[in-house]
Amino acid sequence: MDDLQNETRTNEDLMGRVGKKDTDAFETLVHRHQRPVLNFIYRLMGDALEAEDLAQEVFLRVWKSAATYKPDAKFTTWLYRIATNLCINKQRALRIRKWFSMAQSKKQKQDSARPFIHAENDGPATPEDHLLDAERTQQVLDAIGDLPASQRSAIVLKMDQGLSYREIAQIMDRSVSAVDSLLIRAKKNLHKKLIQEK
């Protein structure tokens, strides 16, 4: 009964309950946002395993900071800000680790993670198609991964999450015009990398 009531509640209302350590409300919130958050992180990190770990970390942060949450901005803005910051920190840590040990290439890592990707659709008909699709996906993820962190966050928030410039600006703590510039540069870079060079 309580679960059914939670389903109809707004994110902000649920957060009020999560602040009082209501696990049912928290579960509803996780169910509602787990997929978009997971995909957002996957596009930023380019690694499905890493994405699952980080997505769990995002929701744990939500649980821990729920008591101090103030619904000044939209819940999703707050949620994606946590996710963006976690990803940026993780990428920074990975870059430092990579700098110290140049052994493992990103490609190898993603190959090992690929079996854990649960594709939404059943995928293409033939193994060749599947291979081509996987290769293309990898190229796009690599190109996104090569963008500077701020451009990468902005383009994924826009293209994947469909957020407005104002929401992206709030998440990234930038002005709307700065977000516009970031998106123009990100699109140019991706075009150069994936279409012009093809």
Partner: protein, 181 residues
């Protein structure tokens, strides 16, 4: 003479195109007002270069469409709830694990008994002098004799340095008795 106006017009056209292209990303993302949108669309109808630029931007959007949507594993939310509820537990319960969660009272009693035994043994061996066993303080003349005596002490009912030895010493500690000895 005609050169200057022509060059000027090329420059003006280039400048217009540059301004339009700067706004095409926003136009594509639906971030312009109706008036700005109309201006852009009017320009696009007459400018092939800017139309091509918009097509390029559309290709970038298409790139995102090839990316697969991944869905969380079935136990994803369960794991989060589990981790979240564990985060609420006291530090010692989190550190010592599952037994405490299932049987908190017996586990706490067992833990206290173990800590008590270890602390008692350590205190007994450290604080009590070896007065009950004068034979153990016997100093052998030769190292081989000493080694034999030490090795034989393992057959004692209460070997020196053991847990029981510590307790025995603590329990038997009596100032009057010590004085007599």
């Amino acid at each position: 003479m005609p050169f200057y106006p022509e060059a000027g017009s090329v420059w003006i056209v280039m400048n217009i195109c540059r301004n339009i292209r700067r706004k095409l990303s926003k136009y594509q993302d639906g971030e312009l007002s109706a008036a700005q949108k109309n201006t852009i669309e009017a320009h696009l109808r007459s400018c092939k270069g800017c139309s091509r630029y918009l097509e390029d931007l559309a290709h970038v959007v298409q790139l995102f469409e090839v990316l697969p949507q991944i869905k969380p594993a079935s136990m994803f939310s369960g794991q989060i709830i589990d981790r979240a509820t564990r985060a609420e537990e006291p530090f010692w319960v989190r550190t010592l694990g599952g037994g405490f969660r299932l049987f908190p009272a017996p586990a706490a009693m067992a833990m206290l008994a173990i800590v008590g035994l270890l602390a008692g043994a350590a205190l007994g061996n450290l604080l009590t002098e070896d007065r009950l066993y004068p034979s153990r303080s016997f100093s052998a003349n030769y190292s081989s004799q000493s080694a034999t005596l030490v090795s034989l002490s393992v057959f004692d009912a209460v070997p020196p340095g053991s847990l029981a030895d510590g307790y025995f010493k603590m329990a038997s500690r009596n100032p009057e008795h010590n004085h007599e000895m």
